[in-house]
Symmetry: C2
Subunit: 285 residues, 2 copies
């Protein structure tokens, strides 16, 4: 498939699940003329418990689907585990530019930090990979990472309304996690001024973090940072068309390898608009 | 492998993860002379998001490992998803008796219920299979099922101490879930007198449920019900040896297909004693 419309590039966005729709949401706000193909490899999640070799194979298959079958000219890996463990394998498997979420998150943290100490919260798998710590170190930052395994299920349960009893649970979970992280930070002599949200589910919890973080700490959302970095890179390649009304709304096609019903039901919460019909694709076992 | 010691049968216990250790815990209390081999197919969890065909293949491979390689003479499927979707496939794949967790849970609910209306809480995957509703219907019971997706991660985080701030979160989550379930039960004209804990993680939350359930409702723990049913069946086949001191402590060998470290770290919480060294086994992809 080739795309003759250079001002409307086709951008592939990949995640093991559908949390990466928060990255797509941030992308479409910045690139309203682009066309998007999103793939959630829901049949084979969670990637976090699998080996690097297996994750690389899955991610490469997914990347080839987006590039070869859907014509993507740019790939955003909206999955922390795949970004941490399989970015090289993905880059080797396709001939288009590929961007992960971790590097942009670390760069945005570096741009925001004065003290050069940052806190990172993420899933267990991402923290165990220490990919954020490594990317932060490359920016001259010290990073203290903490796994927050309850936050993804809280988001997927939809307990994100701060005014409700369920939202009060989420607020208390976040208070406990941040208190543990702050205590650890103090014990290690850190002086953090940035908190990196290192999971694509966490942007939905941003209002909770804004009221819970200590004074003087700024929030960096790695989904947003990745979307900004991708937008810069894409605009360098595909000059936005001259000012004027958009000829058509942003086009978004969504694919999943399993659990299409759950994707359609929960996806809109992450994308900020209906995801529409999700197509089931079979990438093998 | 064959076992000459008829009074010390080898019992295989299988789960997709390690929650099934609560069933093993209940079994070893009842069968102190038995030898146990536990397999957690941790490389391929969660089973809940996979198709019946895939789950059947995984579960049959796991069952054959326990019977053919470890000499199990009786199999307990301590996994709700595999019990719901793959019990026939497992029974076809081995020549020893096989017992799941769902049937015994429904039978124990039936024995306890006067009103013939029961409530069942479980994971999303188990509820979507409606296996408990079907098993309860076969006992002449009406069952109302509710998925409680936050409870497994709360248990795995270890937020189970009622006296702590983290335990207060768990108590509030359980209060919300039970309030939703009770409201739905009332709306449907149910008069439940039994609550079935339909997930192998939930026995660790039993103290929370005991203070949270409405008056007149009894708790049935399907892990315990399965262990009781298995004990009856095993004692019918292997007469317990005459009274006298045990010649050796209960022997428990644990195997996992991945995440051995997490198994060793969290498993003791479920088993109620250290799980010891967990052996990694490869059952293929």
């Amino acid at each position: 498939m080739s795309n003759p419309d250079v001002a409307s590039p086709i951008i592939g966005v990949f995640d093991s699940g559908f949390g990466g729709l928060t990255v797509l949401r941030a992308l479409k706000d910045r690139l309203p003329q682009a066309q998007f193909a999103f793939l959630g490899d829901t049949a084979r999640l969670p990637y976090g418990s699998k080996s690097r070799r297996t994750i690389s194979r899955y991610a490469a298959e997914s990347a080839r689907f987006l590039v070869n079958d859907q014509g993507a000219e740019f790939l955003v890996i909206a999955c922390n585990t795949a970004s941490a463990l399989a970015l090289d394998a993905i880059q080797d498997s396709v001939s288009v530019p590929v961007l992960g979420v971790i590097e942009p998150g670390a760069q945005a943290a570096s741009a925001a930090s004065q003290t050069r100490d940052v806190l990172v919260i993420a899933t267990d798998a991402t923290v165990q990979s220490h990919a954020y710590a490594a990317a932060c170190r490359a920016q001259g930052l010290r990073a203290l990472e903490k796994a927050c395994p309850l936050l993804v299920p809280l988001v997927e349960e939809g307990w994100i309304d701060r005014a409700s009893a369920t939202g009060a649970v989420t607020a208390e979970v976040i208070r406990i996690y941040l208190a543990e992280l702050t205590a650890e930070s103090t014990a290690q002599g850190f002086h953090p001024d940035v908190l990196v949200l290192g999971c694509t589910h966490y942007p939905l919890l941003r209002p909770f973090f804004e009221v819970a973080i200590p004074a003087g700490v700024r929030i960096i959302d790695s989904a947003q940072a990745a979307a900004e970095a991708a937008t810069r890179s894409i605009n360098d390649r595909h000059a936005p068309s001259a000012a004027g009304p958009l000829v058509r709304p942003t086009e978004i096609r969504c694919f999943a390898t399993d659990s299409v019903e759950k994707f359609e039901r929960l996806g809109s919460r992450f994308l900020g608009q209906p995801v529409g019909k999700v197509q089931l694709v079979d990438l093998g076992g």
